[in-house]
Symmetry: C2
Subunit: 211 residues, 2 copies
């Protein structure tokens, strides 16, 4: 009995994930979620009193999945370049499984900015370790001066953006290519792109350091 209840609950969550992440809060229909879960609309409301409640849960879940691994890797003890490669690799595999998440989270936050101040800021998003690491590398002359936050932003942008614009890019830029392969290629490419951009060749420092 309890087992079946949990089963139903999971079916609902799975359906809600699908519908909400694809259509967003305002585009999602409770009926559609019920249909996709193979149940009745009233049962859906039995488990989740309102659309808003259900949405909150899905959104919170999505937000966590999207930010938590990143923050962890950013603050891990690891060589900077290796860290950059790891993040690209992580994002690739994560987005392969959840390609809808960035558009979902970013879209909802954009439409309802209040959502951000509610809980997201408490998520323990600290860049402290990373900041120190980057500053050390700069001081040591191994990379060009750069604001650590910019580095994070660039890294995320290069990895996430191509997934977000997939339908557009597929039809306009990569018309003759297999986009899954494009994304796979990008893993190494993105990391190399970032590393090339900040790395100072140890031989001819003078020429490149400032500029």
């Amino acid at each position: 009995m309890v087992k079946k209840s949990l089963e139903t609950q999971e079916k609902i969550l799975e359906a809600a994930r699908n519908v909400f992440t694809r259509k967003g809060m305002s585009g999602a229909r409770m009926q559609e979620i019920a249909d996709e879960a193979g149940i009745n609309k009233a049962l859906l409301h039995y488990y989740y009193r309102s659309k808003a409640k259900l949405f909150d849960q899905i959104f919170e879940e999505a937000r966590g999945k999207l930010f938590f691994p990143l923050v962890q890797t950013l603050n891990a003890e690891m060589d900077l370049f290796e860290k950059i490669e790891t993040i690209c690799f992580q994002y690739y595999h994560f987005l392969k499984e959840y390609p809808y998440l960035p558009n979902f989270v970013i879209g909802e936050v954009y439409r309802t900015p209040e959502i951000v101040t509610q809980q997201m800021e408490l998520a323990g998003f600290s860049l402290e370790q990373f900041r120190v690491q980057v500053e050390q590398e700069i001081a040591a002359g191994r990379i060009r001066p750069i604001d650590p936050r910019e580095l994070v932003m660039n890294l995320i942008a290069l990895n996430v953006f191509p997934v977000m614009v997939r339908p557009i890019a597929e039809n306009m830029i990569y018309r003759d290519a297999n986009y899954d392969e494009v994304l796979e290629q990008r893993v190494k490419m993105a990391a190399r792109f970032v590393i090339n951009s900040i790395a100072l060749p140890q031989d001819c420092k003078e020429e490149n350091r400032n500029q």
Copy 2:
């Protein structure tokens, strides 16, 4: 009479732009558009028979604004590095005026991929000139080997993504900064980041070319 009509029409379009770009197709309400235009819902339907029609017009307009200038600059006759700087500069000023457009267009296309195949592919989005230019620079040993399409993707990602995630970044990464200033700083930063990443220093080529 005709003048007033055009005035009303423009008020409607302006209101529709605001509402649609902020809330998307499914989140927008005809009543809200009417209110924002300072008119009645029936008048709104007098000018635009349906929500879909009005939406199409706004979307088409947005899509054009978003892609046309980019394609033009990409295919202009201009030094590659200068071109990169120009595009960053262009995007900055454009997105300062229309910060909602990327989320709007990308979000809608993501939710309704069919929208892309309707007209967008006919928009004359050709990267031919740019492709040749990049290949020449590679052959001349002035930049590292890179797929021109990847270069375009990276360039757009670095410029557009930070605007799309503004509410998130503002609260999580740039909490103590003025985000308008952050974006302004990024203009030069983004261009330099890309150029640094692909530029081959003419002095010590051997060390950097492959890798």
